[in-house]
Symmetry: C2
Subunit: 523 residues, 2 copies
Amino acid sequence: MDHQGVPYFTVPLHALIALERSNGVPLYRQIAQRVREAILSGELIEGTRLPTERALAQELSVNRTTVMNAYNELASEGLLERHVGRGTVVRKSYRGYDEDLGGEQTPSWLFGLAAGEDAILGPDARVLSELASMGERREVISFAAGTPAADMLPAELLRGIVDQGLEHERQLALGYCPVEGLQSLRRGLAARMRRRGVALDWQNILILSGSTQGLGLVGRFLLNPGDEVVVEVPTYLGAIQTFRALGARVLGVPVDNEGMRIDLLESLLARRHPRFIYTQPTFQNPTGVVLSTERRRRLLQLSKHYQTPIVEDDPYGEMFYSLPAPQPLKALDVHENVLYLSTHSKTLAPGLRVAWLAAPAQMIERLSLHKQIFDLNTNAIGQWLVAEMLRKNLLDEHLIRLRQRYCQKRDLMLRAIQQYWPEGVRVNCPAGGFHLWCRLPESIRARTLLREAAQEQVAFVIGEPFHIDGGGHQHIRLSFASPEESHIEEGIRRIGNVMKRMLGRRAVRDEQNPLYTEHLPMV
Amino acid sequence: MDHQGVPYFTVPLHALIALERSNGVPLYRQIAQRVREAILSGELIEGTRLPTERALAQELSVNRTTVMNAYNELASEGLLERHVGRGTVVRKSYRGYDEDLGGEQTPSWLFGLAAGEDAILGPDARVLSELASMGERREVISFAAGTPAADMLPAELLRGIVDQGLEHERQLALGYCPVEGLQSLRRGLAARMRRRGVALDWQNILILSGSTQGLGLVGRFLLNPGDEVVVEVPTYLGAIQTFRALGARVLGVPVDNEGMRIDLLESLLARRHPRFIYTQPTFQNPTGVVLSTERRRRLLQLSKHYQTPIVEDDPYGEMFYSLPAPQPLKALDVHENVLYLSTHSKTLAPGLRVAWLAAPAQMIERLSLHKQIFDLNTNAIGQWLVAEMLRKNLLDEHLIRLRQRYCQKRDLMLRAIQQYWPEGVRVNCPAGGFHLWCRLPESIRARTLLREAAQEQVAFVIGEPFHIDGGGHQHIRLSFASPEESHIEEGIRRIGNVMKRMLGRRAVRDEQNPLYTEHLPMV
């Protein structure tokens, strides 16, 4: 890579760009137009290197895809060159574009499918990966990611398993394994699910590289583009993205304190005949609610009556903080209408990427054909480690430790909220899972709160991405599982300070303009 | 699961079914028809349990999907019941179908998408997974799977890495990681590729859960249904399946001793404008050939001229048995038209599921959006183990050991072939990779040879699945990397005996009917 001769850009480009968010011109076109003018006017000289997409997006508070689209447009006009390792540079001799066609401009095929991606993936497509990388910024207190606490990742247990068995079982742990998964793991998981009340056998288990893969496989099996799917509002945003990426239309049913509003579901099933119902009946993400027993029965009746399968996503079912332990919805599923997904990303370690689907055996056979096409099989080392955890009865002890610890963290966070936050915030006390779901006072928007909290080095997730109906402006999700205890109190204190500041400003503004009120959409 | 009261099927069902392979009626319908008759006539009584799909498929020498479709058809007619854990059973009171509608028949949505799957996945969709599970049958000498030798899986090295670092680095190794992959691994792989002559940086690397996932992502990015893709003939069957599953039409260009026939490629590019070219330029699977330097240059010129990107799949590039070490095609790729895929499944362990794509940084960004939708990220433990192998400089030593060992196995297999096989077989001597590619004498069909060899407990892959043009009837692929040395000689001897027997029968038949000759399609 030759970096010589390319001047680094010194003027902060974002200072040249004043975005108007409500003038109807797409943001990426506004950016492209301003950079185009700057190049043509000579403000940006040839060879100048522009900021990275990420950097400019941050400065302008826009989605990174927006900057990417702007740069791509300018590159396709010959005004910019985009080079691996050298970034985006104002093109040398851009006026001589025609003579230079044999040169080294970025190939056209690379821009072939630029359009439509936002539509498929949704504007929040980057959210998950930014959440994931946020954990790497040590200075931030993050309540954003629904991940296990670092010090609860069972490194000692896994090291012990490797020490005792890896060399002897190298073929199982390191070789290719059947698409459906290691048989020892399938048997272990089936036995465990039977103990939780679900009647099934190991042939009903398909091992997955994370439950996200399961959502994609089930979606591919059941959906054609344009088909409709029912989800809860709010719900796990990864599910929304995956279904939309498959071309599905996503319909919403609100959640209340007893879970999905089954009364509203019924009319939707009757009117729209969706292809399936996606639900998290136990410790729902983000709300933490549990679907009531009565609604579970009714949901299964409706599923049978309308021949509409249910996809039960149960990442948190084993993460309960009071007894009795909740049963999966699938335990009541005598007619085999429930496709059950769960994962070890919360109970053991996300880095193992071991999840599973429990479903009718015919469906397992069919889905394994699809799985093989897209990743051949799930990593054997992770499967073997989990299977050994089960075989050696190590998981149950580990779960007991997790439940104690996370329950303490939940209580710590709730106490800190009582102590440091202003009145008018409504917070649930979930009986399981990783999250608190908070409704802010009417005058505080979640997005504004996040922006100001980020300046105090605290992060969380705002409610909007969990909502398919435009709601969630006044909700935030706080994860208590992963942050350290000392950070929980400090982070909650900082958020509380920001809230109080915002409420103070609001009071002043209200005095100045007493008629001003906002009506925010609520779920 | 209650198994009581269900009689096991005792009559071998396959004996009731005589398939006619050329009468125009699809095989699954023939099977369904015969079973239907047997039920209605009382030959099969109520409650009889039928053989599993796999077992019946084996007995009838048909694809498992064929049996599945037959059973599904009968189930939808109410003649069979399919139960998790209890298999397929002749329905009780099938005559009372109507009264029994509220009962426990398999839900209708499960059969919703039964049709068309063979068309999408191809009739060989099960081949890969059967290859994978074949390794579990200890009594078979298998030359089928392109997998590393079990005793070369680096269990000791990996155990050492776990012992030294897992507890300290638990967050990296066991937590969620960025969609693009662990940065340490991306940096390590980029440095390694630079040493192999490819100019790139770590931002050009996307970590994948196996190269199959890379084929799916690239395909999804570049293809719309109905688009065309060029592959070599023969080529890796997993690639064909993945492209077809995405709705692409696959066009073929033959391979000769210098690799893909670039002269034939040109006219295809000019006439058809395919979306990309899929190639394995180095130790191609299955032929083992290396694309010549002259053809590499020409291929890159054509790619640029027609603006058609190249997907270079390079699983075996580091597995060379003579010097100089081959360079990737991408090393010559000044215009960034090559998307490079490779994997650690051959060089370290398939069970880690760690592969990577090297591509323009914009493309990495775009593909990581798609990857996140379908598996969030690649398993961190495998990534961390590989990154540590690189950081500690353990990979190079390991590769030296692998090359010595596999080269010896290749030579052992070639010598055994010389010793035990009849004349008239043509075998290449590949300079790298895992496979011998053998052309059989004109009178021996690969499929017949496999059937008879399987009775001698020897397995290999026949040529047909590697061919999109119906060819390969007289080719077989033998993998020398994974079988033990003693098994190589014995397996080759057994295949040789079968060949001699077949040639003997043939000689007798030719004497009886001297005019009889076959003209088999050849590539």
